[in-house]
């Protein structure tokens, strides 16, 4: 450990993602951290069994849980150790059982499982995420006191993307975020103001899927911490106010033996057979994968036509209205931009869901439907639309056995239950079933945790 951790580090924060997305962990003295290896510190398995309001989720059970509320461990991934502040390091973890077995509902382990299956098919994936969020001039305490309503966006109050003037006003958040990421050695490529007031986007570089998800988790954490330190508030809710929502577009491609596998110079459209089947799998499993890409009650409010979020299960070359935007013009650029993801998705599960869908396509040789060469909003019902409620999506996830097999059946079963739980909590603890705009229930539940 002394090779990986500077001598002046006195404490280590462990952090691992629970399925709903937040990171949980502990601050450990350096000595305790070292002594906890290799299994890592313990915490109650209840961390995986309560919802975002702290209510125990009851109604089902799985073998990974212990009958009387036991422990799970946070096994540190020492390759992720970084210094986050003077004397303080952070380490990302995988959740394991007391005997060291990966927890089947640990999002990071689920992603690793999908990567292993992809590897068994002879491929590795490269992934690049776009992180969108919103920043407000009120501190979290002030925002909470206002019920998260009528907040002042940091920046202009115009629905215009890329305004450098807007970005300048967002510097108190984003330049400091960039500085801290640089100091941590976490790579980022660009940031800009986005289409909603207070909205920003941070572009992350292509890398392996686990690093891509780790980076999203860390970028969100740094954004929140800079906000706390500067009296601001940031949320990655998909739709915190009546404006453009926040998404997470996930660009990805495959490599085979280190070479791009989505490109074929000899093909008329330059798309390889691999890319075609990958698209076929993504399209076939999209209703099920939607559950992981659009995870919350609030995520669905982003699904509005002509407002960037896709509504139709479709793909198209350089088409930003379709669910999948393919780019096929060169070997170097060949990739798919998966545009379904909401800003509040769990990056580990979102990426895993995309890989699982593609794997189904590869393994079953699924041919994609015709490319959609039209604007994919405001289309008639004969075009297949994505599910529009969390329960419809849970039902779709329950039906898709091939997707569940690739994603991990235990995780899928857990997710079906928890999505239905989220629906029940919305309706029975104060949500408005007839609301066509964000409710107090959503703001109270998600604003500070997403």
């Amino acid at each position: 450990l002394s090779d990986r951790l500077d001598p002046h580090i006195t404490m280590v924060r462990t952090e691992g993602s629970v399925p709903d997305g937040p990171l949980v962990g502990k601050y450990l003295s350096r000595d305790k951290f070292e002594r906890s290896l290799p299994l890592g510190p313990a915490l109650a398995d209840f961390a995986f069994a309560y919802d975002l309001a702290g209510t125990p989720q009851l109604g089902w059970w799985a073998d990974w849980r212990q009958p009387f509320l036991g422990d799970v461990h946070q096994r540190p991934d020492l390759d992720t150790l970084v210094e986050i502040r003077p004397q303080v390091a952070s380490c990302i973890v995988d959740f394991v059982s007391p005997d060291g077995e990966p927890l089947p509902v640990c999002p990071r382990s689920v992603l690793k499982g999908a990567i292993e299956r992809l590897s068994a098919n002879g491929f590795e994936a490269r992934v690049a995420c776009e992180v969108e969020g919103m920043v407000f001039t009120e501190s979290y305490d002030e925002a909470r006191a206002k019920g998260y309503r009528d907040l002042s966006p940091l920046g202009t109050d115009r629905a215009l993307a890329y305004l450098t003037h807007d970005a300048y006003r967002q510097r108190p958040l984003l330049e400091e975020v960039a500085r801290r990421l640089d100091a941590m050695g976490v790579a980022w490529e660009a940031w800009s103001a986005e289409a909603a007031p207070g909205q920003f986007e941070i572009n992350l570089p292509a890398t392996d899927p686990v690093t891509a998800a780790d980076t999203v988790a860390r970028v969100r954490t740094v954004c929140r911490e800079v906000a706390v330190d500067n009296g601001l508030s940031v949320t990655f809710m998909a739709k915190p106010r009546d404006a453009y929502g926040s998404g997470m577009h996930i660009h990805h491609s495959l490599l085979k033996d280190g070479a791009p596998a989505f490109y074929d110079e000899s093909s008329p459209d330059k798309r390889s057979d691999v890319m075609r089947r990958w698209i076929g799998g993504l399209i076939a499993t999209m209703p099920a994968a939607h559950a992981f890409l659009t995870p919350t009650i609030n995520s669905y409010r982003r699904m509005v036509g002509f407002a960037a979020a896709p509504l139709v299960i479709s793909w198209g070359e350089d088409n930003k209205s379709t669910a999948l935007r393919t780019i096929s013009r060169s070997a170097k650029l060949a990739r798919i931009e998966h545009r379904v993801g909401a800003g509040d998705l769990n990056p580990y599960l979102g990426i895993a869901a995309i890989l699982a869908g593609g794997i189904v396509g590869l393994e079953q040789g699924i041919e994609p439907p015709d490319e959609l060469r039209a604007l994919a909003w405001g289309m008639p019902e004969r075009f297949p639309h994505l599910p529009t409620t969390i329960t419809q999506t849970a039902d779709a996830l329950e039906r898709d056995k091939a997707f569940a097999d690739a994603m991990g059946p235990v995780m899928v079963e857990h997710w079906i239950h928890t999505r239905r739980w989220e629906w029940m909590m919305y309706h029975t603890t104060g949500g408005d079933p007839d609301a066509d705009a964000v409710t107090d229930w959503e703001l109270n539940r998600y604003f500070e945790l997403m």
Binding site: G431, P433, D434
Partner: protein
């Protein structure tokens, strides 16, 4: 009697439909339901839950929301059966109101009958306790459901409380957490029992 809910119905709608199905299982109430015609809405006094029930002489359709053509609107606290509901429109529709009150309060059996009905619905579900001991604290009686031998879970409560949870008027764990009943067993069994209890309240198996 045909009772249907609109697609993607929320819990309040499903729970109300379940109550009507329980009433429809009673011959006298089923006869009454076949005669009822009118639109009734119920809304919660404590949150945004609501349901509109369209009675059409035996065809009953439930949907979320309070329809503008509802002749009778009942405002109530869904979590407190003892709270007095407020009724708008009863003066204009007295007979319909009376019939609605009857069919929305399905009759219950003894706690033993209700426990056996719940057990018949839930016992085969994966991970359910193989044996459930129910202890009635005010009558000093008990009933073991499922296999003989040591029970894997015990529920203790008054007769009225046992009727409430086993008939589907309330959810096992909510009443346990609220101290209305007592339980002995594992978290696994408590959780799975809760799942079946929620499903029972929302009309599965009816």
């Amino acid at each position: 009697v045909k009772i249907e809910t609109a697609p993607d119905a929320p819990p309040f709608v499903l729970g109300t439909a379940a109550r009507l199905k329980r009433s429809a299982a009673n011959p006298a109430l089923a006869r009454r339901m076949r005669k009822m015609k009118g639109v009734l809405a119920m809304k919660s006094s404590v949150d945004k839950q609501s349901v509109t029930i369209r009675f059409g002489r035996g065809d009953i359709l439930l949907s979320s929301g309070v329809a503008s053509d509802a002749g009778l609107v009942i405002t109530l606290d869904p979590g407190d059966p003892n709270a007095k509901p407020k009724v708008d429109g009863a003066a204009r529709h007295p007979l319909f109101g009376l019939a609605a009150a009857k069919v929305l309060e399905p009759p219950t059996g003894t706690w033993q009958e209700e426990a056996q009905a719940f057990w018949a619905f839930a016992a085969d579900w994966p991970r359910m306790p193989r044996a459930l001991l129910v202890v009635c604290t005010d009558e000093g009686t008990e009933l073991q459901l499922g296999e003989n031998g040591s029970p894997e879970f015990e529920i203790h409560g008054t007769a009225a409380q046992l009727v409430s949870i086993f008939s589907g008027n309330s959810i096992v764990t909510e009443d346990w957490l609220a101290g209305k009943i007592r339980g002995v067993g594992t978290m696994e069994h408590a959780s799975v029992l809760t799942g079946r209890s929620i499903a029972w309240v929302m009309g599965e198996g009816r």
